[in-house]
């Protein structure tokens, strides 16, 4: 199996699907000649031509809104946001039109919005955000947050195939840092199924995206002290795999939810609430959250490091829980 970076796997998934299905096209700022700000679509315009790899004006509502129209006409559009942060400019379209059209009018809207998300490289308040929680609250939308190259490819193909609007959050900090084996052929990974990244008995640690690696390192560290962590990578946040989490918590009796987004009203709250509601009798300790604090993402390295959850924050949380 070839080894690919997370970024190459996204690129590969998109290419594979565009070759197979000519209804699939890409639209976004600088996706054509330039190959996208992160080069995910490098070479695509040469292969697929300017009408399947479309350089759009700086107009996110036009980009995403036009995807909805094209999708209703039978296309399978994939929009690229230059950074996930800019999807705020298409918020109204997504929550008002795309999310509700199926329920109201019976019209499915199979679109994918690729959102390069996350911090860790001094991108500052507008190039580092993780907007998944905002969208996960909106009925009608799906939100995908792959952590591994193989998932990135399989989940992207599933997202394109899915008959609903999907926000595909690709974590920028994984783009070139994370490499792994990725099957060459086309395959799909179902939306809504978590992945056990690491089995364990004492504490369930639920996370997604780049935090999977932070969590894994923390789990390794506490393992040395005899704490066995079951690490669940949700892979998709909407829908999320409640059953996998509840099953694990029934086994471990303790849970920690970790995310890079800010705390109050972040999706971690939903997971904690659900565990409390549905596995209360299994719990031997309060469910804990480790998240970014309630602030914009700061630019300067020491501030950003204090903002994004670090391995030691997760270790501390796990130890607290173990000691409870």
């Amino acid at each position: 199996m070839p080894v690919m970076s997370y970024l190459q796997a996204i690129s590969d998934g998109l290419r594979v699907e565009m070759r197979r299905d000519k209804r699939v096209y890409v639209i976004g700022q600088d996706v054509g000649v330039y190959g996208g700000a992160f080069k995910v679509t490098q070479g695509f315009q040469d292969e697929f031509g300017p009408w399947r790899v479309i350089d759009a004006p700086l107009a996110e509502t036009a980009i995403v809104g036009s995807c909805t129209g094209a999708a209703i006409m039978g296309m399978r559009p994939v929009a690229e946001m230059q950074f996930a942060d800019f999807v705020s400019c298409a918020w109204d379209h997504l929550v008002t039109v795309a999310a509700k059209q199926r329920y109201r009018a019976g019209t499915p809207v199979p679109i994918v919005v690729r959102c390069p998300s996350g911090g860790g490289f001094s991108g500052g308040p507008f190039h580092s955000q993780n907007p998944e929680s905002s969208f996960a609250h909106i009925p009608g939308l799906k939100v995908v947050c792959p952590a591994t190259p193989a998932d990135a490819k399989g989940l992207l193909i599933s997202s394109i195939e899915d008959p609903n609007p999907v926000l595909y959050m690709e974590h920028k900090h994984l783009y070139r840092r994370i490499k792994d084996e990725v099957p060459e052929e086309r395959y799909t990974i179902p939306l809504g199924e978590a992945r056990i990244h690491r089995e364990g008995d004492d504490i369930t640690l639920v996370t997604w995206g780049a935090m999977v690696y932070t969590a894994d390192e923390a789990a390794t560290q506490v393992e040395a002290e005899g704490i066995s962590v079951e690490l669940i990578d949700l892979r998709t946040v909407a829908p999320w795999d409640k059953q996998a989490v509840l099953k694990s918590v029934e086994k471990t009796s303790k849970a920690l939810v970790l995310h890079e987004d800010t705390r109050t009203g972040g999706f971690g709250a939903e997971i904690v609430a659900t565990i409390t509601e549905e596995a209360f009798e299994s719990l031997d300790a309060p469910v804990k959250r480790v998240t970014a604090p309630d602030a914009p993402v700061p630019f300067s390295p020491p501030l950003e490091k204090a903002f994004i959850p670090q391995v030691e924050d997760v270790v501390a949380g796990l130890k607290d829980l173990a000691a409870y």
Binding site: P57, G65, M75, V97, Y103, P163
Partner: protein
């Protein structure tokens, strides 16, 4: 400085024939305008009877605009009509009883009671259901045009917007994308001179809305929105131009919103003389006299059509009233689409 072209009124039957309508077509247009008004008038009655929940909007004064444009669309063209555009649904073939069912929140309305008013559409007729947020459907319409361009289909998308809604960013972004890519798109502005209580000079500062087309690299046309044949001719011209690769056009149909913004609004802020003046230009009356003067519409024909429409209305209201309210246990059904939903001709 006005920039947009001002469309001429339509004159003789000959001219109309050249524009592609024979006498039978003209009577169909006439019928569609009457059905449009009939549906809204009956809706008003149902509302007063307490049979329609929520609010109630009509497009009185805009029958020529909506029917005229829809008549010019080809069978495979698509559109995103708005709350003053009942005539588009009628012309494309939506059955009136389904509209009454929609109004009344019944299971047989196009949205099955999930949405109300004209927030509906039959996708099989090439229409996409509007949302309240204005003009959020314009980027969607442009997306349809983009799909046609990508697939090199000779189809056109028509997007409606109010002159008030032209102030919002979605209008600009949609026109920018359509203009830079010369998409097969026609923008239709229902300029009824009011956005709720707001007069046009507080909504836009150009002389006409159509003047703005040049900012997007295409042509703007102002047409008398009470003259169904002029609207038809301009719409057809723009649609065929778009179909042949000539890019978008902005057609501004000037009319007056002849009632309040919605049923609760007595429009006290509209000068009485304005209503009086525009009442003389009632689109249906105008077309009726034109038909009499130019196409030999007889009194018998007129009565026959009136009767026919009355019957359609009465049957439709009855049928709609027989439609059940939706089953509350279905409230969470259909939030997400399933793969079977894509099993349509569009999605092959």
């Amino acid at each position: 400085m006005a920039i947009a072209r001002e469309a001429e009124p339509v004159g003789s039957l000959k001219e109309v024939r050249e524009a592609g309508l024979d006498r039978e077509d003209l009577l169909t247009v006439y019928r569609n305008m009457l059905v449009t008004r009939g549906v809204e008038e009956r809706g008003h009655i149902l509302y007063r009877q307490g049979k329609i929940p929520g609010s109630f909007y009509t497009g009185r004064g805009n029958e020529a605009g909506s029917v005229g444009v829809a008549t010019a669309m080809g069978p495979n063209d698509v559109g995103t009509p708005l709350h003053r555009d009942m005539g588009v649904h009628i012309t494309r073939g939506v059955e009136p009883w389904r509209i009454f069912a929609q109004y009344m929140g019944r299971a047989d309305g196009p949205t099955k009671g999930r949405d109300g008013n004209v927030h509906m559409a039959d996708g099989r007729l090439g229409l996409i259901a509007m949302v309240s947020h204005l003009p959020a459907m314009l980027p969607v319409a442009v997306g349809c045009a983009l799909a046609f361009r990508i697939r090199e289909e000779k189809r056109v998308a028509v997007g409606w917007f109010g002159e008030g809604a032209s102030a919002r960013g979605d209008c600009h972004e949609a026109m920018t994308l359509a203009g830079t890519r010369r998409l097969p798109m026609v923008f239709v502005c229902d300029n009824n001179q009011w956005a709720y209580s707001t007069p046009t000079h507080l909504e836009y500062a150009s002389e006409t809305v159509a003047d703005r087309a040049q900012a997007y690299g295409f042509e703007g046309v102002v047409v008398d929105g009470t003259d169904v044949l002029a609207v038809y001719r301009e719409a057809r011209r723009a649609i065929e131009k778009a179909r042949e690769g000539g890019g978008p056009t902005l057609i501004e149909c000037l009319t007056l919103r002849m009632e309040g913004h919605a049923v609760h609004d007595d429009a006290f802020y509209v000068p009485k003389e304005m209503f009086e003046e525009w009442a003389k230009r009632d689109p249906i009356e105008r077309f009726r006299s034109w038909l009499k003067d130019n196409a030999d519409l007889t009194d018998e024909e007129e009565d026959e059509i009136a009767l026919e429409i009355k019957k359609i209305m009465n049957d439709a209201m009855k049928r709609a009233d027989d439609s059940p309210l939706p089953d509350p246990s279905t409230v969470t059904e259909g939030v997400y689409a399933t793969p079977e939903d894509l099993d349509t001709p569009h999605h092959k």
